[in-house]
């Protein structure tokens, strides 16, 4: 109807708008630092950052750091998700334990986990596992709270019906609770991906021998803000890749959902 259709399904418009925003922000950033409105001391400059990223990849010096951080993140994400899912399901299905553990879980969630970094270092060493542990403590709770709630939101009728059909508790889990909680789980996963990255980088930042957080810590010490930003940007790209993967799984698992605009357009 209009010359340009601002529809979420028009992937061309979406892409153009995204790029416009991206380059707009980059331009403002560049302009700000170039014109000294933003102190280059804190904000670096886009060209320097780009140069740094290219250099990292050309010399290959970044790979071992990147590899470390990605491994930590993926492990934290996977372990945290599995634990969160497991505990969420388990507690949601045992109301007594849920009520008993409720304050303990909330207490643990409100503990500033950064402070445990030394204890993790004690238990898991300075290698990747202490960072994974930190990441897990962050990811776990995000997933846990959503799974717990998701399970309780299962439609009582569908649940009753499935029980009447003779499902045992394992089958109920697989055929009712999990599918029904799927959108809750994925909502938390989108958050958890970012959190897992935060966990590993912060863990590295507090003490490590390699990883992007280590790079950032060193760069900060010598006021190399461009490297700090470059490190963050590189991680962000990986976070988006991971998120896309999660979204694809989500779309597949939620294919049974009603979608808006169910009728096929005449032209299709």
């Amino acid at each position: 109807m209009r010359a340009i259709e601002f529809s979420p399904n028009n992937s061309f418009t979406v892409l153009v708008t995204r790029l416009a925003i991206l380059f707009g922000v980059l331009f403002l950033w560049w302009l700000g630092t170039y014109q000294k409105w933003l102190s280059p001391f804190f904000f670096g400059d886009p060209i320097g950052v780009a140069r740094r990223i290219v250099e990292w990849f050309v010399t290959g010096s970044v790979f071992r750091h990147l590899y470390t951080t990605l491994v930590e993140t993926l492990l934290a994400f996977a372990i945290g998700t599995v634990l969160g899912l497991g505990c969420g399901l388990w507690l949601a299905l045992s109301p007594f334990l849920a009520v008993v553990f409720d304050p303990f879980i909330k207490a643990m969630n409100s503990m500033p986990r950064l402070i445990f970094a030394p204890i993790f270092a004690l238990w898991f060493g300075l290698g990747i596992w202490s960072k994974v542990a930190l990441g897990v403590t962050l990811v776990f709770f995000v997933v846990f709270f959503n799974v717990f709630q998701g399970v309780r939101e299962v439609s009582p009728t569908v649940l009753s019906n499935t029980r009447m059909l003779g499902a045992n508790s394992r089958q109920l889990m697989r055929h009712v609770y999990l599918p029904s909680a799927t959108s809750w789980v994925f909502s938390s996963l989108h958050n958890a991906i970012g959190i897992a990255f935060v966990g590993s980088v912060v863990g590295e930042y507090l003490g490590s021998e390699k990883g992007v957080g280590y790079l950032i810590l060193l760069a900060e010490g010598v006021f190399d803000i461009n490297s700090v930003i470059a490190g963050i940007l590189v991680l962000t790209v990986f976070a988006l890749v991971l998120d896309t993967a999660v979204s694809m799984i989500e779309d597949y698992l939620l294919r049974w959902r009603p979608v808006a605009g169910q009728t096929v357009a005449a032209s299709a």
């Binding site: 030394p118 300075l126 202490s130 003490g207 021998e209 060193l218 900060e220 010490g221 010598v222 190399d224």
Partner: protein, 318 residues
């Protein structure tokens, strides 16, 4: 040459600034390797974290402040310095531009906000000591932990703190553009003596007594490499130094690094030794505010061990 008992050595570094140059140079110039060591330097975001790594067993040695060995002695942990990296801490204690006129000496700081690297850290102790000498109580000022890097620079420039104790390169950045006017300069031998009355060992390399007993050859190898690096540094030009620091510890501003080095080079130790006087001074500084240190009976001579560096000085050629 003896082969070290533990060739794969993990050193936890509380910082990787200028005062840690001997270690960084030793690593970059291959001195550790020459001693048969494969050293990994782990960077930490503060001294307490390195100690936790050490006691937790994930690091073998720590590059950190000498004062830690005294504090830890009060907790029943026996740490021993095997090589000093500096003879003065390399700090600048200054006031921000805004207070340039009204603060002429530390006693004018009453009621102001003073930045230290972290509450409870060695910078905090030093500030306490300076204020104490000026006749102020710790409660007369607010202490804010701002780190040693961008946070500290930002805090001074934005006027969020009135005074700051900081080392290089932040010190150079801040004094160069006048954001910070030094009250005390602990980067020179004179300034250091003015504040503390003697040497003030800070950055050094230490390990647990246990480790030293079990791995004397390893410790000797470390001492050799550090002393060798110190000797090399003593003769090197700032440009050479900047060229011999691993790039990730340097950033992309070599000129700044060289300049900061010039400002701080007087502090770099030449022979890795800790003097009894220096140790005494550090103890006094701590004892003035930490009742645990004041009351504990600590034999300072057990907190450092100069044997290794002396042997190294005799043997090692730069």
């Amino acid at each position: 040459k003896d082969t070290p008992e533990k060739p794969e050595l993990h050193i936890a570094a509380a910082s990787t600034g200028i005062t840690y140059l001997p270690m960084l140079v030793a690593k970059q110039r291959g001195y550790f390797k020459d001693e048969g060591l494969d050293v990994t330097i782990a960077a930490f975001s503060g001294g307490s974290k390195t100690l936790e790594a050490l006691l937790g067993g994930s690091s073998d040695m720590v590059a950190g402040a000498y004062s830690n060995t005294i504090t830890m002695a009060t907790k029943g942990q026996h740490l021993v310095v095997v090589a000093a990296q500096v003879i003065c801490p390399g700090w600048i204690f200054g006031v921000s531009q805004k207070h340039e006129t009204d603060v002429k000496s530390p006693k004018d700081l009453k009621g102001m906000r003073i930045g230290v690297s972290a509450p409870g850290s060695s910078t905090h102790m030093a500030v306490n000591y300076i204020l104490h000498k000026a006749g102020l109580q710790p409660s007369d000022v607010s202490i804010i932990g701002v780190g040693q890097a961008a946070g500290a620079v930002a805090a001074v420039r934005a006027g969020q703190i009135d005074a700051l104790i900081v080392n290089d390169p932040s010190a150079t950045i801040l004094t160069k553009d006048g954001s910070l006017r030094p009250l005390e300069n602990m980067r020179t031998a004179d300034g250091n003596v003015k504040v503390f009355g003697s040497d003030y060992p800070e950055s050094s390399v230490f390990a647990t007594q246990d480790f030293i007993e079990k791995n004397p050859k390893t410790v000797q190898a470390v001492a050799n490499a550090i002393v060798r690096a110190e000797k090399w540094i003593a003769k090197a030009t700032p440009q050479q130094v900047a060229d011999n620091v691993p790039p990730q510890f340097l950033g992309d501003n070599k000129a700044l690094y060289a300049e900061a080095f010039t400002n701080s080079r007087r502090c770099i130790a030449q022979n890795g030794e800790i003097t009894p006087k220096g140790a005494q001074t550090v103890h006094e500084v701590l004892a003035a505010f930490d009742p645990a240190v004041a009351s504990a009976k600590i034999d300072l001579a057990t907190t450092y061990d100069n044997r290794f560096v002396r042997k190294a000085a005799a043997e090692v050629q730069p």
